[in-house]
């Protein structure tokens, strides 16, 4: 090999290496938190010159060769990024069934159960035919899960309702969550099942709170193929005097007099403007709730940001528990007998990832 060619090849590797080290040592934070291969690799990766250009390069090539599925995300034709929900293990099914039924039996209750399908299945028409068929059949999963309960719980089927409204903005484009509008349709089905009066949409006033943001599904590369999102709050007259208590595991309590936080700059995840984010336990009291003054204990996940604000109009007291976040001490203060209803409401994506249902044993 010619000397010049050899020099250029050696120089290329050394230049990249030097540029990375220069970036690392010019940064203010310490080079390494700990001396491990993973830490060194991560630090180098963060300091590759032209990192953004590099990281998008292979994905761009794949995109132009027809690929529309990146890691676990499908690029939809209408600008939505749709998280691929994997088939859950049989252990997740049996664990959920056993703990929920055990909890019902122990407390002599017949709870409500609601599984919320994800955008990848409701908006399937946005994904090309072949991959559409490749998507895990959540409808079957929900039906199978419901049949596992053998009538010992009251199930709520919202699949068809969401599917009927699939042309509307019911899921965020770049976040794996239903929007407030999607939440309203979920709320409607829930009201039917709980036997309570549903507040009409025109009794809420819509407030557009944040525009043009990209959620957690939109990586730098995927942003260019997705549409930005907006958040709207639906506020009811009767909700103006609510008190929202965020209870943390360390015993601290944060109290708010609104379900919504209007300053979007406070949040990286803009959907946290609803409730100010989800806490291990949230207690919502609504002195001016409509109808009978009832209470409900809800076990759920982040998807509650979409539908729970609507339910506040119907209950005097709501306790929301995020089992994956809450610890024993906090859970042991909750007594099922204090509530008129108990509801388990999870998105399929949270459900298949695994919920710490074993913590139900801590509840009195």
């Amino acid at each position: 090999m010619k000397k010049l060619a050899a020099f250029l090849i050696v120089a290329m590797v050394l230049t990249m290496s030097t540029a990375m080290l220069k970036n690392i040592f010019s940064a203010e934070k310490p080079f390494l938190e700990e001396l491990s291969f993973e830490e060194i690799e991560h630090t180098l990766s963060e300091n590759v010159p032209f990192r953004e250009e590099f990281s998008g390069l292979m994905d761009t090539i794949r995109y132009f060769s027809g690929v529309r599925h990146f890691e676990d995300i499908y690029i939809g034709s209408e600008g939505s990024l749709l998280l691929d929900i994997k088939k859950p293990t049989s252990r997740i099914f049996s664990s959920a069934k056993n703990y929920i039924l055990g909890f019902s039996e122990k407390n002599q209750i017949r709870p409500y159960v609601m599984l919320i399908p994800s955008a990848s299945v409701i908006l399937q028409q946005e994904i090309d035919n072949f991959s559409g068929k490749d998507i895990y059949n959540q409808r079957n999963m929900i039906n199978n899960m419901y049949s596992e309960f053998e009538g010992k719980v009251r199930t709520t089927d919202i699949y068809q309702t969401l599917y009927d409204h699939r042309g509307e903005y019911i899921f965020y484009h770049t976040e794996n969550l239903p929007t407030s509008l999607g939440g309203y349709y979920i709320y409607g089905e829930l009201c039917n099942r709980l036997g309570i009066e549903q507040n009409k949409m025109d009794s809420f006033s819509a407030i557009y709170a944040a525009h043009g943001f990209y959620g957690s599904l939109a990586t730098d590369f995927l942003k260019q193929y997705s549409s930005p999102d907006f958040i709207s709050f639906y506020e009811h007259e009767k909700n103006k005097n609510v008190i929202l208590e965020h209870r943390k595991n360390d015993g601290s309590v944060r109290i708010s007099e609104s379900l919504f936080v209007f300053n979007e700059n406070n949040f990286t995840d803009k959907t946290d403007m609803i409730f100010g984010g989800i806490s291990p336990v949230m207690e919502i009291t609504s002195p001016e709730s409509i109808g009978e003054r009832k209470s409900i204990l809800i076990f759920g996940d982040e998807s509650a940001k979409s539908w729970l604000p609507f339910l506040v109009t119907n209950f005097e007291r709501i306790t929301f528990v995020e089992l994956n976040l809450a610890e024993e001490k906090l859970l042991s203060r909750i007594s099922v007998s204090d509530y008129d209803h108990v509801l388990f409401a999870y998105s399929t994506s949270a459900f298949v990832s695994g919920i710490d249902f074993e913590k139900l044993e801590f509840i009195g």
């Binding site: 090999m1 060619a5 250029l8 050696v10 590797v13 050394l14 990281s55 292979m58 060769s65 599925h69």
Partner: protein
């Protein structure tokens, strides 16, 4: 830390190259030895102490054998101990890898097999004693060959002449080979491995004719780019650090016979078993039954090199059957027909062998074979159609580079037009560095 990491490419390798090039001539091998031990420390920290103790023990054994070279009984006892010890290391690492899947057993395999070969050669007077510990470490555990080989014999370890050893051209040439090998591994073998996984998952749910054929092709490509990539990387690193390592892999799927396939597929490993097992078992009156037994044994060992698993053993037997048929009956016919047809025959046989090779669940390859011939399965499923639609580019690029055309073109340039060859090498390296970095971020 493997070769396919930013840490190796942009931190470990440049530092090692700088150290090697600034070290005085007398200390260069010590630097390579230290770098090799450093590589083991980084890539398998949990086994570092073991490997260090292992190499020290083997060095002491070699010294003891040298000191007792004229005392036949002691020499023989030391040889038996060395073989038994290294065989035990190979078995322990392979079995624990199979049980836990924790770490690659290749480093242990390369060190132990190389050591067995060395002690046998030394015993027979075919290898010389390593006077310095650092030379012994470089021979046994040079970091460039720890991932997949090649296996080298002491008499085949060629240090480059000093004039070449420390030249910029050699470093550049070595880096070019390394980057090319890393490119094959990172840009092609790893995505193909992922594609194989997806196909396997799809075929496990509902297998189809095209799904089964496609999986065979994808797995063959993946194995090709994996082994060929590591071969290039090892040879490239060898040249960077003053060594000429042997070729380990040379377009096996284009062989004119299955016997030839075995010689081109992981060739130093096959050569090792041929020399140390086959030749030892063979006697002067090499009978037909003995030939059959020995061939089966060698092929099985070549399979077991990849792990002590049933599919690798069956793969070895399958290859052996064709080698035996060729040797006993078919060779006369193969010599008479045009080489294109013999290549097609070998291609078909060896590609089918990959179905067995890839089948981690014993018996799944029977399901795949049945599906490939359309027995009770659809032509194609939606899952397979989707996977094909998402991977057209990868399949096309893989198929192109799996043929020897590009390699032949580069070799032609190297001989006929060194200037053009150098230009192509620089451009190829630049492109590959971009693609590799993009994949590793």
């Amino acid at each position: 830390m493997g070769f396919n990491s930013l840490t190796f490419l942009y931190l470990f390798l440049p530092a090692a190259l700088i150290l090697f090039n600034i070290a005085p001539k007398k200390l260069k091998n010590s630097v390579v030895a230290a770098v090799s031990l450093g590589f083991i420390g980084f890539s398998q920290p949990e086994n570092f102490v073991f490997f260090l103790a292992d190499i020290i023990l083997l060095f002491i054994l070699s010294k003891a054998m040298s000191a007792n070279f004229e005392k036949a009984k002691i020499k023989r006892a030391l040889l038996v101990f060395a073989i038994a010890f290294n065989a035990a290391v190979i078995i322990v690492f392979s079995v624990s890898n199979q049980l836990s899947g924790g770490f690659s057993p290749f480093a242990a395999m390369v060190i132990s097999f190389t050591a067995i070969g060395y002690f046998v050669d030394f015993y027979k007077g075919e290898a010389e004693e390593f006077s310095s510990f650092s030379d012994f470490v470089v021979f046994l555990a040079f970091f460039g060959k720890l991932s997949r080989g090649p296996l080298i014999r002491a008499k085949n370890l060629k240090f480059l002449p000093s004039s070449e050893k420390f030249s910029l051209s050699e470093t550049g040439n070595g880096l070019y080979f390394f980057i090319r090998g890393l490119g094959k591994y990172v840009v092609l073998a790893l995505p193909l491995a992922k594609l194989h996984e997806n196909l396997l998952a799809s075929n496990s749910e509902e297998i189809s004719v095209i799904g089964a054929w496609l999986d065979m092709v994808v797995f063959s490509m993946m194995i090709f780019f994996d082994l060929s990539g590591f071969c290039d990387m090892a040879r490239g690193l060898g040249r960077c650090f003053g060594m000429d390592l042997p070729q380990n892999f040379y377009f096996p799927f284009q062989s004119p016979s299955v016997s030839d396939f075995l010689d081109r597929f992981n060739m130093t490993v096959t050569g090792f078993f041929r020399h140390y097992v086959y030749d030892v078992l063979r006697n002067d009156k090499n009978s037909r039954p003995q030939f059959i037994v020995n061939t089966v044994l060698i092929s099985m060992l070549c399979g077991i090199w990849f792990g002590i698993e049933m599919n690798f053993i069956i793969w070895g037997i399958y290859i052996a059957v064709f080698v035996i048929i060729e040797e006993l009956f078919l060779n006369r016919l193969l010599k008479k027909i045009p080489v294109t047809f013999t290549r097609i025959y070998t291609f078909a046989v060896t590609m089918f062998s990959m179905v067995i090779f890839s089948s981690s669940e014993t018996g799944f390859f029977l399901t795949s074979f049945k599906a490939m011939f359309g027995i009770d399965v659809p032509i194609i499923t939606d899952g397979t159609s989707y996977i094909v639609s998402q991977n057209v580019l990868l399949l096309m690029v893989g198929a192109f580079f799996m043929l020897s055309l590009f390699s032949m073109f580069i070799n032609y340039l190297r001989k006929k037009s060194p200037a053009l060859y150098s230009t192509v090498a620089v451009l190829e390296s630049a492109l590959l560095i971009i693609f590799i970095t993009a994949e590793l971020i």
